[in-house]
């Protein structure tokens, strides 16, 4: 419990409190504006965090991550346009409720469900930390270099397999991301890899340059080249407090969805979409009125929003516990850890347990703050969603410059970011996923670092898998690949017959 109190006291700092406030409110606004998601906001803010204290930076980014989906529900419910991609399914029942004249009810249900989902996964993380904290100190000893290598490999496999319909593209882009990290002078042998004798490439690509290019600049180009949408006018009449308590009428749906969100958040490469899919399907199968789903069923809305918001806290668990990020936003946060010199991984339970508590408690504060803010400002936020896309795109581009140039004061960084932005723009147009590139960079770097560091203990190939953890993880990798192959062959066979 000492670590808990220490973690709480870490937050009693003016800078941290301001970061929580900005993160919470900023995240809601960013989420509410269709076209800008938390990924773009975090990509732009990443370089700014270099100048801030590590806890302040992480709390700020975590605040944006944890609150953006609350904001994203507003346009999804009011104008049938999801604020963030994750809120797409919210339109299904949320907008139907608006059409039925129940917009305040839908919004308040979305807020209470999101709050429940967020608090559920944070509570799970905090309870685990308090209950198992003393034992987790020894957890570090179980994880050697080879084990973390295998965990990163498992994360990579799950990421690729999660893209069910476009696995080849996901694998290709993951490998591209991995190869990007290989570019530059290798530190131990001083060998240049894929530099083609270009001096700039000797120092390699900066992760932030790629992230800003791929996420922010590409979206700026997308917005500026697209058309301004003309959303229908949405008026919010009626109080938002009444619907808050309605969540208690659907305890099973809320609990199951939050559990799905937590579990799917922990598994690398899976995330919000799969959590929503399972939650929504389960809620429909449990409902007494399954035909209502898609036409304004409150359970449908609860399932989507609860599972969504349970993911951020849960997604921090693999990052903090084994140092392996499971999705793009936590991968971006990894950059802050790299800059702060903190190594997320099993050792963190021994070296900085208070830091872990600080992060989860801050996320809890963010959730509370967001709900309070939204109850009083939803009408104002509902007007922000009408900012024209093209106008937004111009300012995303301006902000992207700050993001890139401030890293090394290098104009070549801006040029390469523009190149990655162009690539990202094409990928966006073709619906190719962007996340595998970033995760390829982060997980690829982890894999190579751990493989090199653990190479001294590898005499035979079997030494890679002869430790309990690495053996177990490699077995899971095998089973997951084997299972996917079997299901692929089975589906083909079924189609043929």
């Amino acid at each position: 419990m000492d670590a808990f109190y220490l973690g709480l006291s870490n937050l009693m700092n003016f800078q941290v409190i301001v970061a929580i406030l900005i993160g919470a409110v900023g995240g809601v606004v960013i989420g509410a504006v269709p076209g800008i998601g938390p990924a773009i906001a975090i990509a732009i803010l990443l370089p700014a965090t270099i100048f801030l204290d590590d806890l302040v930076s992480l709390v700020l980014l975590l605040g944006i991550y944890g609150s953006a989906m609350y904001g994203g529900a507003i346009p999804a419910i009011l104008i049938n346009t999801p604020g963030t991609p994750v809120n797409a399914l919210t339109t299904y029942d949320g907008y139907s409720m608006t059409k039925n004249g129940e917009a305040p009810r839908a919004l308040s249900l979305a807020y209470s469900s999101s709050f429940f989902g967020g608090c559920f996964s944070i509570s799970v993380a905090l309870i685990c930390l308090i209950a198992f904290g003393p034992y987790l100190k020894d957890f570090g000893a179980l994880f050697g270099q080879r084990d973390i290598f295998m965990a990163a490999a498992l994360g990579s496999v799950l990421l690729i397999l999660a893209h069910r319909q476009n696995m080849a593209i996901a694998a290709m882009l993951f490998a591209v991301g991995f190869l990007i990290t290989m570019v530059g002078r290798q530190t131990t042998k001083k060998v240049d890899r894929y530099t083609f004798d270009i001096e700039y490439l000797a120092s390699g690509f900066n992760l932030i340059v790629v992230i800003v290019g791929i996420f922010a600049l590409s979206q700026a180009l997308n917005l500026m080249n697209g058309k301004d949408s003309d959303p229908p006018e949405a008026k919010l009449i009626g109080g938002l407090f009444r619907g808050l308590a309605e969540l208690k009428n659907y305890p099973a749906v809320a609990f199951i969805s939050a559990s799905f969100g937590t579990v799917m958040g922990i598994i690398p490469g899976v995330g919000e979409f799969v959590a929503q899919f399972f939650s929504y399907s389960t809620a429909r199968s449990l409902s007494k009125t399954p035909t209502q789903f898609g036409y304004g069923a409150p359970e449908g809305l609860i399932a989507c929003e609860t599972s969504n918001n349970a993911v951020p806290a849960a997604a921090m668990i693999p990052l903090l516990a084994i140092g392996v990020p499971g999705e793009a936003l936590t991968a971006m946060m990894m950059v802050v850890f790299f800059d702060a010199g903190i190594k997320p991984g099993p050792d963190i339970f021994d070296t900085a347990p208070d830091f872990l508590f600080s992060l989860f408690i801050a996320l809890l504060f963010v959730n509370i703050l967001v709900v309070i803010t939204l109850l009083f400002t939803s009408r104002f936020i509902a007007t922000i969603i009408y900012i024209p896309n093209k106008f937004l795109g111009a300012f995303v581009m301006i902000l992207a410059f700050v993001g890139v140039f401030s890293i090394r004061n290098n104009f070549m960084d801006c040029a390469f970011a523009a190149g990655f932005g162009f690539l990202g723009y094409i990928l966006r147009r073709l619906n190719w996923p962007l996340v595998p590139i970033v995760l390829g960079m982060v997980l690829g770097q982890i894999m190579i670092e751990k493989l090199t560091a653990g190479a001294g203990k590898i005499k035979y190939w079997t030494d890679l898998v002869n430790r309990p953890v690495s053996g177990f993880l490699s077995l899971i990798i095998f089973l997951v690949i084997f299972g996917t192959l079997i299901s692929y062959i089975y589906n083909k066979y079924q189609k043929r017959n």
Binding site: F51, H163, M224, F395, I398, S406, I426
Partner: protein, 228 residues
């Protein structure tokens, strides 16, 4: 009810006296069913290969082939030491990372191209329009904004971060079609706020040797260099 029929039409004239509840007003068929913008749960995992997919797949194959050809010289493979007793000594070598990438990249790129060709054949069979030229034009169209972005990054050293950002914001806003005074003012204010937040408050690094600032009085020059 009134029935409009042609007098000479034998079939219709045979039923002329029967009470039909039909009123043909116009030849045009108008559907009053609203467009379904609804998002479906299956859409969460939906992926459709669209126009331009094959082009990008081919570009990727060319790039990957180039990377594969240059693997020997660019990955450190030419300095490999495979005759090691310990596997660890092999895994430590510089070419291992690029090799892992290539092992994934090459088959994935080929398989992706194969799937793209299958989709092309399906589209041909369904006689769907190709629109590849239009898609390529859209790709190239975005280069205009990339050029603006690169110009913006370079004029900062001449006019400073504040002036360049305000000019760039106003230029982009007018270029994108928002030409009223109201929008121009909005963009200038937004640009000013960005500079204040990032440069003046957060003190994020921007170019310091500004040509224009050299003409300012010394105290003002220092002030501008620090805050703008």
């Amino acid at each position: 009810m009134k029935i409009r029929v042609f007098e000479n039409d034998s079939i219709l004239s045979s039923i002329r006296d029967k009470p039909l509840n039909i009123k043909i007003i116009s030849k045009k068929f108008i559907s009053k069913i609203q467009k379904d913008k609804k998002f479906k749960v299956e859409n969460l995992f939906e992926f459709k290969r669209v126009t331009g997919d094959l082009t990008l797949s081919i570009i990727f194959l060319v790039l990957v082939s180039f990377l594969l050809i240059s693997f020997n010289t660019e990955s450190g493979w030419d300095g490999r030491e495979l005759s090691q007793k310990r596997v660890g000594k092999i895994l430590k070598q510089q070419w291992v990372g690029p090799l892992i990438c290539m092992v994934v990249l090459v088959p994935a790129t080929i398989y992706n191209l194969y799937q793209s060709i299958i989709q092309l054949n399906i589209n041909k069979r369904l006689k769907m329009p190709s629109r590849t030229k239009y898609e390529l034009f859209q790709w190239l169209k975005s280069l205009e904004f990339i050029v603006y972005f690169l110009i913006y990054t370079n004029i900062i050293t001449i006019f400073g971060y504040l002036i360049s950002t305000v000019i760039f914001a106003i230029f982009l806003t007018t270029r994108l079609g928002y030409r009223s005074l109201e929008w121009i003012l909005r963009s200038a204010i937004a640009a000013f706020i960005i500079v204040i937040i990032f440069r003046s408050i957060l003190q994020i690094k921007t170019p310091v040797n500004i040509w224009l600032y050299k003409f300012l009085p010394q105290n003002f020059e220092v002030f501008m260099k620090i805050y703008f």
